[in-house]
Amino acid sequence: MSAGGGGNDVQWCFSQVKGAIDDDVAEADIISTVEFNHSGELLATGDKGGRVVIFQQETENKSQPQCRSEYNVYSTFQSHEPEFDYLKSLEIEEKINKIRWLPQKNAAQFLLSTNDKTIKLWKISERDKRPEGYNLKEEDGRYRDAATITTLRVPVFRPMDLMVEASPRRVFVNGHTYHINSISVNSDNETYLSADDLRINLWHLEITDRSFNVVDIKPANMEELTEVITAAEFHPHQCNTFVYSSSKGTIRLCDMRASALCDKHSKLFEEPEDPSNRSFFSEIISSISDVKFSHNGRYMMTRDYLSVKIWDLNMENRPVETYQVHEYLRSKLCSLYENDCIFDKFECCWNGNDSVVMTGSYNNFFRMLDRSQRRDVTLEASRESCKARQVLKPRRVCAGGKRKKDEISVDSLDFNKKILHTAWHPQENIIAVATTNNLYIFQEKVN
């Protein structure tokens, strides 16, 4: 497999789809997060019902290169359950907002999963042997009558069918008054951050009863609230650096060496706005829904409602690249405000070598933006293109005027079919795209 390069000379093929076919989607089945682990061997999803499903890539059959490695269910568990805040008479949703994997240190895998209030560290381990030959117990577990025991034997391990177990190893509670939107594991492998609308906390993976507050933007008087934190992430290599984005379209980079409380940023990334272009919608559509560092740590990508921006960490006053995701929606902002779609939070991701970025859109469309070749393509995740190894055809949206054949008009787009969550394998050209309740896996066409 190639090293994760190329967006548009790559032809994408359908590989697998997970989930129910029926259109009647139960709320619990709505996928809320998708994440590959560091090797790409495991793919985790979280849903609104608080459940996590982990898929594992089958080891490739080297003698049959046509036979693509598939992702099959490895483990599934209930991560979070609905809770109730009795003081405020508010329900705490069990929806998994984010999953982040820890780099693998031993045979077991670890991931952090979070809902609005509580973060949990889960250990996923395999068991493929079990002890047999106990002296005091029968094989089925019943205790033997001590009087019948005349000899002593040493129990031995015998192979058994693989069992994958998930157990919660840490539960990090009471760190957040507001709703957690992000978690990010530090490159030091000891700490992680969690961000809610107004605060960011630093935790140690071993310590659950306290966390350290590093950012607090809550104003003394809530009437003066003008912006909230929308996403946060640690730098992939520099363990002292993290960024957080805001609802006003700014990104702040903070250095934990500079001071204990990082309310003052080290860098502020903001693109100047043309005041004559300002409208009622300007601030809303400038709100950043996702921020992701590139793998090489030199750039970061932000997603706002209509565009994706690439920022060079050394240049604060404007992004180095801007890509339109679905500019045709600019003339639909009024209806998108009325149906709340304007508040949809789309995520974005980098490919393994940072040459292509991907983000979702409506009508189950998703966009591949090739930075090196300055080209982009719109693809669709739909049941119609579910034949094995079927190549995905590029889609085109007609903004106005005469609609060409094979184009779809803006007014025909289904705004209930949103692709908010996508993930790209860290090394290979394999992508996971989540529609409302289905997970699509696409792979690069191999000849």
Binding site: G49, K88, L90, I284, L333, E338
Partner: protein
């Protein structure tokens, strides 16, 4: 556009405004439908609504206290403006949400 008439700079600017800014057209549409929409769009109201997302449940204590308060003071009738986490907006029995489904396995894991 044919170049026969040279529009004055003001006319050109007007054409510019509607042609160049679909956003402003959309804004005008919105203001026409909702004339009472505040002038500060991304401001406190929207943000506070965001901070308080979550299903508010019926609390008989809060409800009865609010009913008692109403005898003395007129409470705002609009249920839309939920400005406080506790206190001012008390869900009534009519607002009760539907019962949640029991926990079952994910359909992705089939």
């Amino acid at each position: 556009m044919s170049g026969e008439v040279e529009a004055s700079t003001e006319e050109q600017q007007e054409i510019q405004d509607t042609v160049v800014s679909p956003e402003k057209t959309e804004e005008a549409k919105l203001k026409a439908r909702y004339p009472h929409l505040g002038t500060k769009p991304g401001g406190s109201d929207l943000l506070r609504k965001r901070l308080q997302k979550g299903q508010k449940y019926f609390d008989s204590g809060d409800y009865n206290m609010a009913k008692a308060k109403m005898k003395n003071k007129q409470l705002p009738t609009a249920a839309a403006e939920k400005t406080e986490i506790t206190g001012d907006h008390i869900p009534t029995p009519q607002d009760l949400p539907q019962r949640k489904q029991s926990l079952v396995a994910s359909k992705l894991a089939v």
